[in-house]
Symmetry: C2
Subunit: 221 residues, 2 copies
Amino acid sequence: MPSETFFNLPEEKQRKIIDVAIEEFAENPYEAASISQIVRRTGIAKGSFYQYFEDKRDLYLHLFDMIIQEKQAFLQQTPPPDEDVDVFEHLRWVARAGANFELSHPKLAKFGYRVVTDDVPLPEETLKIARSGGRVFFEQFMRNGVEQGVIDPNVDAGVAAFLFDLITVHYGKYMVDRLEITPEELTTSERYPLDTTEGEELFDALVDILQNGLGPREARK
Amino acid sequence: MPSETFFNLPEEKQRKIIDVAIEEFAENPYEAASISQIVRRTGIAKGSFYQYFEDKRDLYLHLFDMIIQEKQAFLQQTPPPDEDVDVFEHLRWVARAGANFELSHPKLAKFGYRVVTDDVPLPEETLKIARSGGRVFFEQFMRNGVEQGVIDPNVDAGVAAFLFDLITVHYGKYMVDRLEITPEELTTSERYPLDTTEGEELFDALVDILQNGLGPREARK
DNA sequence: ACTAAATGTGACTGGTCGGTCACATGACCG
DNA sequence: CGGTCATGTGACCGACCAGTCACATTTAGT
């Protein structure tokens, strides 16, 4: 936890420190991220930094908490569809919200990505939740779908959840590649670049594959 | 490229160095992996190391080459099915071969995983190939499937290739988790732990989802 | 204006790193 | 033997790191 001294700081200074720190931890693996760099780039003295934070890990944990909160706030901004709507509609929302977050907060997303892939000094329990959280969530998801009769009960729920989890973590990055969205567009445009015809089509394509598979369609519909 | 001096070394010493180095680069991000550690753990002098390799990067590149070769040799050991076999059968082979490699060479797989996720000093072109290679390969794969009539031509090939790529990179790890395979089993058992009934079922489950989707099946077959 | 508490500062410590180099040891050959 | 050429060695260099601390500066209360 940052010290009270830190929270007494003018808000602008707080933000500057946090922003620079997030950038540093987004661009470098935890071990390589450098406090010396952070203080250099914020223009504060090393000693001041250590009056705000106990140590490197303390800063890291604080950033993690902030990002969790920011992401939750972001997701609640476009609330999920009702529980009883078609699960595929729900899945579509999850994928889209995740991708939009990645695009509108690329630094935060990069940070989050490192949390689940790098070696990082979070409490063991937190790590487990962050890493398997998706799977647990999606297994429930599958049960809902089966109940609704829109998911075949013979499908292996674990494998499906594994797929969903991968998708939420990686689909945003894929879309950025594919739509050739430049960093400038991310910061300048007001609307989310995925809320376009092209973007919607990509979500449709994904959900379609998951729903109907790759096999030929003549037999159905 | 390692110097001739290195290749003149007794084979056992070469292997020891390589093994320790792979372990170091598998366990740590490139920046955090330490030459000092490597020479400490192999028991050679720092100076000797720098007679074998130009620098850290040189060692890294050499390891990368070795791993590529080893993986290719491994894959050719169980050759792919004929080109004209059902693409889903082919996909099954790809996923299975990848997962088996991950299980029988966990250190190499970890190393390879870092290549595609970490920041790593490979030549730009090599990196691009390593990272997008899967997608390009799988797009061809999709074309074959459409020709065979086992893949619906309306499916978005790019999105499907994206899915395949994710799967080959991550499915092995998922299976190890799910089957609760311990590290000992990996080193002691002679046969690949995935060539079991349970393992086969997991491959079936995956291919089934990709082929038929998650939707209810009454309408088909 | 004086004081005391809060905040700011950067040189410094002890450590690790990648990489070098002057020198020691060994192997082979006459 | 002596000589020479390949190989081995570890102290050392400069750079950077996380973290500390004695001191300087600012702020606020009186």
